[in-house]
Amino acid sequence: MTDPTRVPYRERERSVTMERLEDQPVSETTAVMESDATESEELFTINIGPHHPATHGVLRLLTTLEGEVVRDIKPIIGYVHTGIEKSCEDQQYWKAITFVERMDYLAYYFNAMAYCMAVERLLGEEVPARAQYLRVIHLELNRIASHLFWIATAALDIGAITMLWWGCRDRDLVLDLFEMSSGQRMHTRYFQVGGVFEDIPPGWEAQVRKFTSLMSQRIDQYEALLDRNEIWLRRLKNTGVVSQERLLALGVTGPLLRAAGNPWDLRKAMPYSSYDHFEFKIPVGTVGDNFDRYRVRFAEMRESLKIVEQGLDGLPEGPYITTNRKVALPPRHELATSMEALIHHFKLVTEGFRVPPGETYAPVESPRGELGCFVVADGSAKPARVHMRDPSFVNLQALKHMGEGGLIADFIASIAMLDPILGGVDR
């Protein structure tokens, strides 16, 4: 048995070339035009390259087509690989939050949440209730923003260009809220180990309530535009169907799995950060086609609005970050009066806090699926290994099954509905 590490790489690319069609396995997806297969037996390999308007980010797909029917897909990734995980090993724990945020760059709070949960678990820290509620509110607002951007670009791919303007317009409103609470629109360093960075400013709650009431009307508007639209329905209904068992075997989670019928959501199944205090439903689809995925995400946006409102109603008083000064920076006014606060501040800023040795895996439910963070600590102030189990990376394996046997236009719609974020795929 030859060592698989020694075969030259060009040999493997040969699997996707011009060849006869005889022994193609029958795929379980809805196969269009199977009766015409005997006439045209030439396969045509095309490279949907890293620079293409329909790929969300730099994703390269080697597609083997037979006429308009897709026969094989090989995704090639790695064009945005940034070595974030290796860079994190070089930084202190709280500096690594900024690195980790830039992985899945639409759902930045979720990356920070998974990482902070893992580090807090290793430290054995308790997060105060107010911080947990603030985290939940920000996470759900980020979920809404991510789904808005998804519908903006997905509708652009399919042809409904109006949604691009509307989606970006409303996403700007959410980013304004983030800017009010943390100072930055994207990649805010708002979540810290032990809580959040600072308390929300006084007018924030009113602005969020204005946003939630406006947003529910807007979602009605979007549904009125898209839901009964014949072109939209024709493009999306019964395309890209993958069965639930196949998705589970491929490790796919998130709206894709929920659209196929499995109500697995980590916020309900293994609740974290006081998600069990909130009342919300999990939208579940029936057929598992692209239209179900679209409906599931829209319904999720509505549920997120409900969670945000409940969070604001029940926001408890208290500290916004853990009071353990060995982990969290002391508030600035204490630095003038207390010597210990000064020493803690100095220690934390120069060296950072030390984490006792151990390893843990902390999953959260991001807008794309299960986002887990695996942290190994070796007792020093820098993590020994940070690895994110990114949902887009695992969901991308389902792309082959979504596209096989269908037309190439449906395949483009499937990529749009899969919602891959290449920053998370490549890390």
Partner: protein, 180 residues
Amino acid sequence: MLRGQLEGKDLEEYVQERVLLTRLEEAQNWARKNALWPLGFGLACCAIEMITVIGSPRNDLSRFGAEVIRFSPRQADMLILSGRVSIKMAPVIRRIYEQMLEPKWVISMGACASSAGMFNNYALVAGADKFLPVDVYVPGCPPRPEALMYGIIKLQDLIQNNQGQGWRERYNAEGTEEIA
């Protein structure tokens, strides 16, 4: 013939020629700067802010002339390089840049495209100016949409004033269009 040595009629002719051409050049530059078509090229998080600039009704780039984003490099003028440039992607970007037709400009948006950003490691090319001639650098991580618009307006000023582009020879950037 140097300008100082001309006199009388020659000088007048000389000046008239130049003025006509200058006026024409100014008009040409004005037309070019107000019809910059960006190439839709988004790599990472900065791409989201770029789409916000181009696509959001609040920061609307089409009022400055960049109405259309063309995804084919043969039809675009301006490459907004938004996002981190990894070593696997760098030859691809260079190839796309070479396929664009003259005149073309490059805006390097964000910290990761201008230098390595905060990712100073094995996987990134430390700045797009290692292999592309960059006209305007827009800092930020990611830069605000208003910052990107300021960068584009600066590029428009640069085009209008036709600042010396002799540095392009250093990068071997002229005449590199791929005509297949």
